[in-house]
Amino acid sequence: MQIYLPIAEMPVDALVILLLGTGVGFLSGLFGVGGGFLMTPFLIFLGIPPAVAVGTQANQLVAASVSGVLAHWRRGNVDVKLGIVMLIGGALGSVVGVELFALLKRLGQIDVAISLAYVFFLGTVGALMLIESGRALLQRRATRPVRRKLHMHTFLHRLPLKTRFPRSRLYISALLPAMIGFIGGLLVAIMGIGGGFLLVPAMIYLLGMPATLVAGTSLFQIIATTAIATFLHAVTNHTVDVVLGALLIAGGVIGAQFGTRLSGLLRGEQIRALLALLVVLVAVKLGLDLVLTPDTPYVVQTAPSP
């Protein structure tokens, strides 16, 4: 069924978009990430203008993270204080990010910048996750109950503004979570992704947060950053398409339900290995597009109609 998108100014097959939403929702339910890193490239592949893909995707992520955070909230798995500190950094990050987006657009490098950001972040995080989960899979039988420190002490723990976060049992500089939030906010604005795939490992390895609190707390701050990004994209760039957003949300809600159920059947390290594989694949695909000779070296950009 063809449906005309009022902001993207093009017709799409509603069924294709619903299926895309369902597929990505399924993966996000399965892996506990927003799935923006898959959705945005797919939307661009379908011919949606990149700016509209990024703006609308931010809107869709608000819905996904609200529904995700409520489940964590009920189990008490959200560190509100730490979340708010991250959120302040995240808000700043998304404001800077939207400005940066506009600047790169003026310079004519926005498509290259988005691709490079994807390759860099997805490549790094994906590779690290793949190594970590691969090691965990191999060592699963030989479990060694080693006494470990709660977390490593590095220079990161000597930053000023030390604050207690009782829920996470942490005593760290408030700048640290704020910085992580800032980077998350940048990613939301420029890449149209929630940044969960980056925030979650950062919170585990850099902050040393208890794993049970990580997903809920990162979602908590993603709600805020994606909401701010949606608002700014809608007001400054007019690139949020509610019709497209509604279709993605509807599909995502259905898909997430199935994904969450399947995730109960798999072990943690298996899920992480699969996610890492997916992340690396996307990074490799986008990296090849940057390196391989394109069909045509020319890119045509029409100024948005008044």
Partner: protein, 244 residues
């Protein structure tokens, strides 16, 4: 919607009447309405001529600025390096003729009236020479042809007897909105003997028009609504999950 109708009304009044001319033509409709279910539209142009001649119909969409960037391999990566900006590229361009264009008019005449994709020239912002701009122009036309906005196959203007003619103009689903000009030229022995221009408006109507104008004029409210929708959907989903 009202703006579009107003534009049509003004243009209809402003259209010169074809009194005592050798050519009379009109469109089956002066408005292409883009609704939520829009998948393209066909319009019929019909008319009559006095005396012999060949017909050329040119449809031009609203002019817009277009930037064409050229990627070059830089430190192994394909980055956007140079760009050419054309200032007045029609959003849609199609020619329909009663016989092949080359047989109707000379290359010079075609260039003067902008008949045929091969003679289309666009003004570039930096006044660069034609030789530099040529590959960018070719890339632009190729992209437009692929998008179906500069249809490749030459359409035919059919004569229904010695006087009457008709031609169908097909607009694809991705046709840009705005003001179009439909020009009908009557050639005789390679010279234009009569011409008529008819305006046409392509506009969003109904639901999609309202959403678009709302998003432009009340951007903050629009953003708030989009967010409210997302939060409500997320909340509802969580509630349903819980029961399930």
């Amino acid at each position: 919607m009202t703006r579009a109708l107003l534009a049509v009304a003004i243009l209809l009044v402003a259209t010169p009447s074809a009194r005592a001319q050798q050519l009379v033509a009109d469109l089956s409709s002066h408005l292409v309405a883009i609704t939520t279910g829009f998948t393209g539209a066909d319009l019929v142009l019909f008319g009559a001529i006095e005396g012999p001649g060949d017909l050329v119909v040119v449809v031009r969409g609203p002019p817009a600025e277009v930037v064409i960037r050229r990627k070059e391999r830089t430190v192994g990566l394909w980055l956007n390096r140079s760009a050419v900006t054309f200032k007045d590229v029609p959003g849609f361009y199609e020619v329909a003729t009663s016989k092949p264009l080359a047989e109707i008019a000379s290359g010079e005449t075609r260039a003067r009236y902008g008949l045929g994709v091969d003679v289309l020239r666009f003004e570039n912002a930096k006044k660069r020479e034609d030789l530099f701009v040529a590959p960018y122009r070719a890339a632009l036309i190729r992209a437009r042809q692929q998008a179906g906005l500069f249809p490749i196959d030459e359409r035919q203007t059919q004569f229904l007897g010695p006087r009457l003619f008709r031609t169908t103009i097909a607009f694809p689903a991705n046709v840009p909105t705005g003001l179009y000009q439909v020009e009908v030229l009557l050639f005789n022995k390679g010279v234009v003997v009569s011409a008529q221009s008819t305006p046409l408006v392509v506009s969003r109507v109904g639901f999609s028009a309202e959403i678009f104008s709302f998003s432009q004029q009340h951007a903050a409210t629009y953003a708030a609504c989009a967010l409210a929708l997302a939060v409500a959907a997320g909340w509802a989903a969580a509630a349903v999950f819980r029961k399930a």
